[in-house]
């Protein structure tokens, strides 16, 4: 599997570390419903059979975090972009 790193170009997936689902947004710990929101954020997953948005870390390359859209049935990668500040998990 090749991941097209926006900094390094197409690189073998072995250079990357997988961190998982990138859909979750860290909840506000001071919110009223923080307990429920953190339970959802930490433990629950959509786990789709199809397109999946996920974090990959390019540890053996540019050491940047990437947000990758990959199909969990075919492993085809539709999009890769560098993680931005607003993507912070």
């Amino acid at each position: 599997m090749l991941i097209h790193c926006p900094y390094c170009g197409p690189r073998d997936s072995q250079e990357f570390t997988y961190r998982g689902d990138a859909n979750g947004v860290r909840p506000d710990p001071s919110a009223e419903d923080a307990q429920q929101a953190f339970y959802d954020y930490v433990y629950l997953r959509n786990n789709p059979a199809g397109d999946h948005l996920e974090w990959w870390y390019h540890g053996a390359g540019c050491r940047q975090w990437l947000k990758v859209s990959r199909n969990t049935l075919t492993h085809a990668i539709a999009a890769v972009h560098a993680a931005r500040a607003e993507d912070k998990p």
Binding site: Y18, G20, R45, N47, A49, T72, L73, H75
Partner: protein, 404 residues
């Protein structure tokens, strides 16, 4: 001589009726065991097992056939030990040769810290009625003389052995349960994919399938890696991610080893089949996948680990390789419970350890469905433990399923 002309089907290939007392979705080992124990132990015989493909074609046919009860934590070890006890009497009970071979499993020790950890685990096993023996280096060498004992990085210092552990023939388990359940009146329905659920007043009242709607008072799910695909129809988000685990078979060799062993430093485990092949496996493919096929980097990694531990493996040819979709939970332990909807029951999250659990999983799930209360042995496997913080995390890696 008779070209199999005299063989009869072992079980009825049923067509769906309009309604049942209980529907089990998933015709793997767990689903069939559940149906069998519902009929046998609880007298509920109006039961259907619905299978998308053919029975035993999922993870029941994609594992490395090891059975053991060498767990550490209180929520786990009594359950797996009960499973081991059921394995010990299963062939007699079902009158089916499942080739259960209790030749032991040895978890290798490579450091003092690991010996301490395994001594603790062995004590936990013994406290829960299982068997465990701490072997020194000479005792391991006597049993497994072909290992690389003096590797510079990971020398072998000893091992934790469970003598009663071993292997079982995976297809035999499926067929044995299927035949016994069918004989008690259970309908086994293949090529019947569940597409959605039927509801009435917030209650699950059956399933929509490719072979029509089927009503049921109770619907149980035992679909392993496909759990989320079905629970998502109910808007139920699960603490599960699906990953692929590979297994490998070498060419056949003369019998030279008994039982199974695991590498304590890399991730590699191995046993020899009755046909003489080595069957082995290692890590998950590291990313979410429903593909039922493995990737090459993990294959390379497993084989490297194998050759480091068993140098002569480098001379063997690989015969086959396969992969199953594992329902990895956030603490690495399974889920058996009623709910969260009335009429709905969950059996999921077996990670990559579901095969050995087959009998106890069926036993406890049948109890949960029949009596609407958790079985004492599986009461820790509730779905809401993730909300309440009562996790059963054997490895202590947290909510990162690809690390369990």
């Amino acid at each position: 001589m008779t070209s199999n002309r005299l063989l009869q089907p072992a079980w009825r290939d049923a067509s769906p009726k309009a309604s049942y007392d209980v529907i089990i979705v998933g015709g793997g080992g767990h689903g069939l065991a559940t149906a069998y124990y519902l009929a046998k132990e609880h007298g509920i015989r109006n039961v259907a097992v619905l299978e998308r493909g053919w029975i035993g074609g999922g993870n029941a046919g994609r594992n490395t056939t090891i059975i053991r009860s060498n767990y550490l934590l209180p929520g786990n070890e009594p359950f797996y030990e009960w499973s081991m006890r059921l394995w010990e009497g299963l062939e007699q009970e079902l009158n089916f040769n499942m080739m259960v071979s209790q030749n032991g499993i040895i978890n290798l020790i490579h450091s003092d810290a690991q010996r301490d950890a395994y001594a603790r685990r062995g004590n936990a096993m013994i406290l829960n009625g299982a068997d465990a023996r701490l072997l020194d280096r000479a005792e391991v060498r006597e049993r497994l003389p072909f290992l690389n004992y003096d590797d510079a990085r990971f020398p072998i210092k000893g091992g934790l052995m469970q003598p009663r552990a071993g292997t079982a023939r995976h297809d035999g388990v499926v067929w044995g349960y299927a035949r016994a359940a069918s004989a008690l009146g259970v309908d086994i329905i293949q090529n019947c994919e569940v597409l959605d659920f039927l509801h009435a007043d917030g209650r699950i009242t059956g399933v929509k399938t490719t072979r029509g709607d089927i009503l049921a008072k109770k619907t149980g799910l035992a679909v392993a890696g496909s759990t989320t695909r079905l629970t998502s129809k109910l808007g139920l988000k699960m603490p599960i991610e699906s990953f692929v685990l590979q297994a490998f078979i070498s060419e056949g060799l003369k019998p030279f080893m008994r039982g199974a062993f695991t590498f304590g430093a890399g991730h590699f485990y191995c046993s020899q089949t009755d046909k003489g092949e080595l069957v082995f496996g290692g890590d998950l493919d590291g990313y979410n996948s429903y593909a039922q096929r493995g990737n090459l980097p993990v294959m390379e990694d497993v084989l490297e680990g194998g050759v480091a531990l068993v140098p002569f493996l480098s001379r063997l040819r690989l015969l086959r390789q396969w992969a199953g979709v594992c329902d990895m939970t956030m603490d690495g332990s399974p889920i058996i419970c009623a709910g969260p909807f009335p009429g709905f029951y969950l059996n999921a999250g077996w990670n990559y350890g579901g095969f050995k659990a087959t009998p106890a999983s069926g036993w406890c799930f049948a109890h949960t469905i029949a009596r609407d209360e958790p079985h004492p042995l599986s009461k820790a496997y509730r779905l809401d433990r993730f909300r309440t913080g009562h996790l059963i995390d054997e490895k202590g890696v947290g909510a990162q399923p690809n690390l369990h």
